[in-house]
Symmetry: C2
Subunit: 431 residues, 2 copies
């Protein structure tokens, strides 16, 4: 190792951190990429893992594999427990050990976490969909509820076991609600035959419309497509109370359910607090247009965890393309700083956004101008996600699974895989 | 439901239970298939999940999916906690509830569990490879050890982290040792580049030879192929002590290691004890040639958990084909009993056995006559396992992965996926 070269530490191997690291590959810096997982997660397809369409590893790519050929990028599997910005050191816990890693430049890219808008009690009964483990947990939970419902004598309890409430009318909420309904209508209702099980999938949004940032015609199209699929959409009322067996909305509606999926909103990663700076709305860390953190020398931050306003005074949205472009810019500005060049401010290249609702149902808003809906939007969504998945093998397997699911209406990954010690001797200990 | 039809309960959806259920499909009986998992596991490929070559769902097949078209077969995800053979009732725990299920005929097919030959203290530090969860745990453990080793300063500790001891010279031990060595030599040693990591894979067998039931030339061939791959083989000495950091053999050898894979032997499933009968060697339940359990009316038992001697007084081996053939026979004998036909005794159709040691390395003993080794045996192994995998989609994905791994020397499924609550707020709670 050439210790003369500046050392850049990147925290987080999500879209922001990954694009920063890529832009620093084979440049005259030593890079250390720290994450709590040994893989990058393609988060837009998490709901497909949760609904038995894809295997976890098909949307997860090992970090070491991504940077196998880039000898200036090292990877550390660990949890950052503190940042000493005066001494320019990061403390990392690896298993039961602690390391102190010095940096010349630091890029924070730890994204966001779900927010319960002050109602942290909701969290106890809610399932999330932010990490690969969340997705597997949700899959296990839904399949487990159906297995129990098959043998449940009490009709009301049985209905609660097969009722799923998804909170949040953004793309994640829509995608999850649509995919769960399809899992039920194409697979589960054919196989859980002891009793007649009726699934209700209810999407709850506190706004009077879905897809807040989209134009009205697309919001309407999304609503109609969801309803035509069979999803019940409940608009205009926030969640007021959550228990193990029910969700109560502010308008008095009580939904008996054992499954609440929380996709209602996110806030900046708690890691931002380690810099001892006042945070902005949504606990987001304010950054300069260069993606530098003010008053913290050598520290940059990118993506969901940051707060930066555009020319018209609006904060940039918490979206993957923003994180990717900011990650790349942070890397380039660090290289400019080292090489004596000029740092550039952030300009967002917005190619639009899309959300899928199910088989042949989607909405897309391309370059924030062209509005697509239905089959054509769904095909655009498929193509985009296959192209942006990392790794040829993953793409091939995902393609095989999608084609399989499309023609057979099947969902093959329907295994309830609880982790922990093998089951070999459970029976004995339970006797 | 026609309650006039006899009710058959099958406990266990392994190879024995699956073949029994298949033989009872669309016959004049009502079948209830009980298992603790909602899927059948193709156990011969567990070691490939453990060594990052296959995804868990590629070797797991949902029970409900297998019997989707067979309306007389129902499935129950639960744990059997007791059998009342006088009252012909089985007690099952489903989540936090308990059910009592009555049977006219009962087929026990719960297989085997690892045995530590009285040294149950070994189990605390050993990793097993009997269930899908075991395989994922072993994968997480090996990858985690390599991640830690990369950052470990102490050379001896580092070596212990990348030393893997596999105990047991049967097919599972050979396959696991070979696959772990290949995972290291083709993948891990290219990606864990901070320090020079040297892997040792040591196979320990107490007998003076590998593959006990095989003829001597194949035992030798297996030994040579393992050694040519790079696996160290230690014959003729049992394990005497196991700690978190070392394995001690009876001959005094001490191996510093953090990873002990126990593939040394199995005993009958503890469920057999519920029948209150004296058990045979290996805690196996004695059965009659018809697969009936003596003195327990209407109860049959098949596969690894049972003890039955062949014409020459030797017990049938604990192998998948025995379980499959006994499962089918139990079903047919139950149908004969119902229909007034004649029950038949068990005759084992032995097509031989094979074990793979790695890429292009294997031994096969076809019809216990033809001896194959090396590339040709490996091709036979590949073909057999692809053909016997359940489900076309699984076969296709497994094939894609095998071809991919073969030509690229890659192992794509290298994600450490710990289960449990999402990681969103860990950092905060650790501050």
């Amino acid at each position: 190792m050439n210790t003369q070269r500046p050392r850049v530490i990147i925290i987080g191997a999500g879209f922001g951190g990954l694009f920063a690291a890529r832009a620093l590959a084979n440049q005259p810096v030593d890079v250390l990429l720290i994450d709590r997982s040994n893989f990058h997660t393609f988060t837009p397809l998490l709901y497909q893992v949760a609904t038995c369409a894809l295997d976890p590893s098909e949307i997860a790519y090992p970090v070491r594999s991504i940077f196998r050929k880039d000898r200036n990028i090292r990877s550390l599997l660990g949890t950052v427990t503190s940042i000493d910005y005066a001494d320019k050191t990061v403390t990392v816990r690896i298993a039961d050990q602690t390391r102190h890693e010095a940096y010349d430049y630091l890029i924070l890219a730890t994204g966001s976490v779900p927010t319960y808008f002050g109602q942290s009690a909701f969290r106890e009964h809610a399932l999330e969909l932010r990490t690969l483990s969340d997705a597997v947990n949700l899959r296990n939970h839904i399949l487990g509820q159906f297995e129990q419902a098959t043998w449940e004598e009490d009709e009301a309890v049985r209905q609660a076991m097969t009722t799923i409430v998804v909170v949040g009318g953004g793309p994640t909420g829509l995608e999850t609600a649509g995919a769960i309904y399809e899992l039920y209508s194409h697979v589960l209702n054919r196989e859980y035959i002891q009793r007649e099980l009726k699934t209700r999938v209810i999407l709850v949004e506190m706004q009077p419309h879905l897809l807040e940032p989209y134009p009205e015609p697309l919001r309407q199209a999304a609503l109609e497509q969801l309803r035509s699929l069979g999803v019940e959409v409940h608009l205009g009322s926030p969640v007021e109370a959550v228990t193990k067996a029910a969700v109560t909305l502010k308008d008095g509606t009580v939904i008996a359910t054992h499954t609440l999926v929380w996709a209602a909103g996110v806030k900046g990663s708690p890691l931002a607090e380690m810099l001892d700076l006042p945070l902005q709305r949504g606990e987001r860390l304010p950054i300069l247009p260069t993606t530098e953190v003010p008053d913290r020398h050598g520290v940059y931050a990118v993506g969901d965890m940051t707060y930066l306003e555009n020319e018209s005074g609006q904060p940039y949205p918490m979206l993957i393309p923003v994180a990717q472009q900011q990650g790349k810019l942070a890397a380039k500005n660090i290289l400019a700083e080292i090489g004596g060049g000029e740092k550039r401010p952030f300009h967002y290249h917005d190619r639009g956004s899309m959300a899928t609702i199910g088989r042949r149902r989607a909405v897309a808003w391309i370059y924030n101008k062209i509005q697509l809906r239905g089959y054509i939007a769904w095909l655009a969504w498929l193509a985009l996600h296959l192209v942006t998945l990392l790794g040829f093998r993953n793409r091939l397997n995902v393609f095989v699974n999608w084609v399989w699911n499309y023609f057979t209406y099947d969902r093959s990954v329907r295994i309830i895989l609880e982790q922990g010690r093998g089951e070999g001797e459970k029976v004995i200990s339970e006797k």
